[in-house]
């Protein structure tokens, strides 16, 4: 679906990526995690053909994104963090934008809009930021684009909307579709992402699927001092010390994305050894 080979990209004086290799496949939801300014959005914009790499190649469904061919754009939909929707009623928006996406499913769009509780006859510009974002996300999912790029999709959504988004995204995933979600609000997308990629300083710090992480890591409260000593990451809370530690065979704990992210960022050396012995 997406193949990135030896990607180098820089803004005028600020290098972002140097020799990045990465691939994304259909049928998965990828979580692109990282601190602010580490290049998550730039990577998404490179994949969408909005930014051009200085070196290396990107191939999306066999196309070079930088060509921005209509056939490529029909199958890639991006929900950017800063987005724009015209000042028109939702039905007008649908009638003028839908014909560009041959596989758009209007019934699904209505379903998503109703799950998000958006009044369908209101003008986009009269909606709140969160409501507009929900319209855009609904449109993106209903477009049936094979590649869906979402930059901080939960920003501006209330608690109920976040859980509605998780539900809708889980429904929208099929074997032909790849969803890449860039976020720093890792908690919002727990149980949805099936591969986690952490970018730091323009490099891939961590890239593993959720099954592998569950098999190799344990997220739990520390029982004793020995637990703390062997932990890859620990954090004190009212109920005790929460730790991320190499998994024992009998362990079966739920992945805590926030703890995982902190463990990767603070102890990348040990994490790398654990996953690439």
């Amino acid at each position: 679906m997406v193949s990135i080979q030896n990607l180098s990209f820089a803004y005028k004086k600020k290098p972002v990526f140097d020799g990045l290799n990465l691939s994304f496949h259909a049928g998965h939801v990828y979580g692109l995690l990282g601190k602010n300014g580490t290049g998550k959005s730039s990577l998404l914009r490179n994949i969408a053909g909005l930014l051009y790499p200085q070196k290396g190649t990107i191939s999306v469904n066999g196309f070079n994104p930088a060509d921005r061919l209509p056939v490529f754009l029909q199958d890639v939909f991006m929900v950017p963090e800063e987005f724009y929707l015209p000042d028109i009623p939702v039905p007008d928006f649908i009638s003028s934008y839908v014909p560009f996406y041959p596989r758009f499913n209007s019934d699904k769009f209505r379903d998503y809009i109703s799950v998000f509780e958006i009044p369908s006859d209101s003008t986009l510009q009269n909606m709140s930021y969160g409501q507009k974002k929900k319209v855009l996300i609904s449109f993106a999912l209903a477009s049936n684009a094979k590649l869906l790029l979402m930059d901080e999709p939960t920003n501006g959504l209330d608690i109920m909307s976040k859980s509605q988004l998780r539900k809708i995204l889980a429904q929208a995933l099929d074997e032909e579709r790849c969803i890449i979600i860039s976020t720093h609000q890792v908690k919002d997308l727990e149980n949805l992402i099936d591969r986690i990629t952490v970018i730091d300083d323009g490099k891939i710090l961590f890239d593993q699927n959720v099954e592998e992480i569950s098999r190799k890591l344990s997220f739990r409260f520390a029982v004793d001092e020995a637990d703390l000593a062997t932990a890859l990451y620990s954090e004190s809370s009212l109920a005790g010390n929460v730790i991320v530690t190499p998994s024992r065979e009998e362990d079966e704990t739920r992945i805590d994305l926030e703890l995982l992210y902190k463990a990767i960022v603070t102890n990348s050396g040990k994490m790398t050894k654990l996953f690439h012995p």
Partner: protein, 273 residues
């Protein structure tokens, strides 16, 4: 489907542009018509004895056509100056050629047609009112609606309509290019850049003329004949073939606008947000 141009995609793009901007366009057209009425009322009040003279109508038409046209063209790609709007614009599944073609359709064909229609609507109305107003004092003096394409005030020949359209198209294409190039303040920046380019071009031609050409001067309008002066007595006439003059003339008259459209197309293709 052809990835460079498809009539279906182009018509979808035109419909989408209209749907996105119709509120702004309708307000602008109404605002322009009202401003025109206010302006004509002002000229009538300033000169109540000979109101709505043809010179006033012609100057109003051309000044407002070129002024508002250039401003509109300079704003066409303003979405590219904002990341959010730029992403929305660039990710619409249509080719760069279709997007440029749509911009030409709106800034040249549609703008000119709508502008001329609105101008004449207001002009006919104001001339009628003005004639009724003056009829009470001077029944013999009746002003007529001017044909702006056959205007005697400007040095247009029988090709006047085409000339006006060609000049207008060239100006629009300059400002359309400025709109793709400059993310912010494109109208002002295009005016400044145009002056700089024309000034540099003038300097270049002047320097070439002063330093490369022998003493003498051109003897016809299209710069194809040059009289070399030697001691004032033994002059020589140097002629280049007429076809060179014809080609240069053709390129200047018909080539500049398409050239600027091509530059805008490539600039749009390489645009990043």
């Amino acid at each position: 489907m052809n990835q460079f141009f498809s009539f279906r995609r182009f018509s979808l793009l035109v419909s989408k542009h209209w749907a996105d901007n119709k509120k702004r366009y309708l307000l602008s057209v109404t605002g322009f018509a009202l401003l025109l009425i206010v302006w004509f009322i002002f000229t009538i009040l300033v000169d109540p004895h000979t109101p709505m003279q043809q010179e006033i109508q012609i100057l109003t038409f051309f000044f407002s056509l070129f002024g508002t046209g250039a401003f509109y063209a300079s704003q066409y790609f303003r979405d590219l100056g904002s990341r959010a709007k730029g992403i929305n614009f660039l990710l619409v599944p249509a080719s760069a050629f279709e997007k440029i073609l749509c911009s030409i359709l709106f800034t040249l064909v549609i703008f000119f047609s709508v502008f001329t229609a609105v101008f004449y609507l207001v002009d006919i109305l104001m001339v009628t009112i003005s004639n009724q107003f003056t009829a009470a004092h001077d029944p013999l003096r009746q002003e007529s609606v001017i044909n702006v394409f056959r205007a005697a005030i400007l040095p247009f020949d029988e090709m006047s309509t085409l000339n006006v359209l060609l000049i207008f198209a060239a100006v629009q294409s300059i400002f359309l290019l400025g709109s793709v190039y400059f993310a912010k303040y494109s109208f002002i920046k295009t005016i400044i850049s145009s002056f700089v380019v024309f000034f540099l071009l003038f300097c270049l031609i002047y320097l070439l003329y002063e330093h490369l050409m022998p003493r003498g001067g051109y003897v016809d309008g299209f710069l194809t004949s040059y009289r070399v002066t030697v001691n004032g007595t033994d002059d020589h006439l140097v002629r280049v073939p007429n076809w060179i003059g014809d080609v240069v003339h053709f390129m200047l008259v018909y080539g500049i606008t398409p050239f600027l459209w091509v530059v805008s197309y490539y600039r749009l293709k390489e645009k990043q947000v």
